[in-house]
């Protein structure tokens, strides 16, 4: 395990990201409403640069059996990372893929320490 200072806190504002290369790995560090997450810039689909994709929300649907209607909800705005190659959706807060239950982005520990953002890479 090695620790790396990758930025100061004011270099990644809420809603922003940076992508760094450490030990041969490209890693995206995201600030989601003050919470930091770090993921490998590599999509489980076809190895696309996931961390370079747009951050959006997504549409969820629920079927109400009582009235027979489908309720659509555009939700998680700012929390969905879309791979730019093919649009595979990942939940930025967990790294989980929305369309594949067994797929999760490889992730790294990232924390704030006295104004610096510290990334731990195994």
């Amino acid at each position: 395990m090695s620790k790396h200072r990758v930025a100061s806190v004011d270099e990644i504002e809420p809603g922003e990201r940076i992508i760094v290369e450490i030990e041969g790995k490209e890693i995206g560090i995201f600030n989601i409403e003050g919470e930091y997450r770090a993921y490998l810039n590599w999509c489980a689909h076809q190895a696309g640069p996931t961390c370079e994709g747009n951050v959006t929300g997504t549409t969820q649907g629920e079927y109400n059996k009582n009235d027979g209607k489908v309720e659509l909800d555009y939700c998680k705005q700012g929390e969905i990372l879309n791979c730019p190659w093919h649009g595979w959706e990942y939940d930025l807060t967990s790294g989980e893929c929305l369309s594949r239950q067994d797929v999760i982005l490889p992730q790294y520990k990232v924390e704030e320490n006295e104004g610096d953002i510290i990334l731990s890479v195994a």
């Binding site: 076809q46 190895a47 994709g53 747009n54 959006t56 879309n82 730019p84 190659w85 093919h86 649009g87």
Partner: protein, 358 residues
Amino acid sequence: MASQQQRSKALEDTTIVDTDVHLSVSPEEVAKYIDEPYKSHMTNTGYSPLPSSGWDRNLRGKIEHYTVESPEDVDEVLCNDFSIDCPILNPTSVLPRLPQTDLAAELMSGYNDLMIDQYLDEYDHFRGLAAVATQDPEKAAEELDRLGNEDQIVGVYIASTGPNPPLGDSEYDVMYQAAEDNDLDIAYHGSGGAFMFEFPRQNQSFEKFIEVHTMAHTWSQMMTLSSLIINGTPVKFPDLNFSFLEAGIGWIPMMMFRLNKEYSIRRSEAPLLEKSPEEYIREFYFASQPIGEANHSKHMDQLIDMVGADSLMFATDYPHWDFDHPEALDKHLSHRYDVEDRNKVLHGNAAEAFGISL
């Protein structure tokens, strides 16, 4: 199983032909290669001059919109990043959806000239397929005669969503004869954008593009394949190779075996055939993209085996939104196929299908 890095290195070390690369040509750009009054059609209509289905390919920005607007785009992304050694370009899929036959014929030569001038003349390792306006098979034949001596033009790109009648009709024999005379092999390619004209029920009835696009290319290719086989097009033109792009491969076993069964009963409706439909289809070539994504990878392996190492080719379909990286196919090849069969799929079959010296 080999690691991701080992497989990437294996792709770099292998010759790869990409049989389906699209150019992104604006109306203003192709207008430079056509004459009046068609030039003004492309630059001065006040509306979009070419029909569009209007569907949102890029999911409201979730998917990046990539384009190929220069030979450098092809070289940097495909040849450099994707390890493609020989990209086979095609200039346009729009021709069959044009109701104006004269405009389609003019654009045919315009798109082809643009591809030669801006792309093929710039890079020796690029190859191209000549677009044809199937609305006018005589003019299409003249175009193939005109381009027959272009060394880097290796085949004919027939946009197979939209042509009416279907592409095995004898109306097109003059076009196929010119292709055969000029050693230009045939590639068929469907289109989600033209699908609304060929199967209008889809745009009337489906609300989501995922429904339309899942079916568009395969339906058009199934119709084309059926028309070719039953009308005996491969019997009439035995020196032509026929390739099918951008419909994946799952539909091929289904068509082979259904046509076999139908032919066993209704042979008299396909009197030109000298052997079973399957035997003709096994002489055709099929590009892998968009490769299916089975929940159990072995099921995709089985489909690949059914199509076979003598028929399968690789394609990216770059820069379109459902393109495949070479790894998407090679992960099914590298751990199961010997070097000879893997090389056939990644370059040998494409070289044969289009008569390319690598």
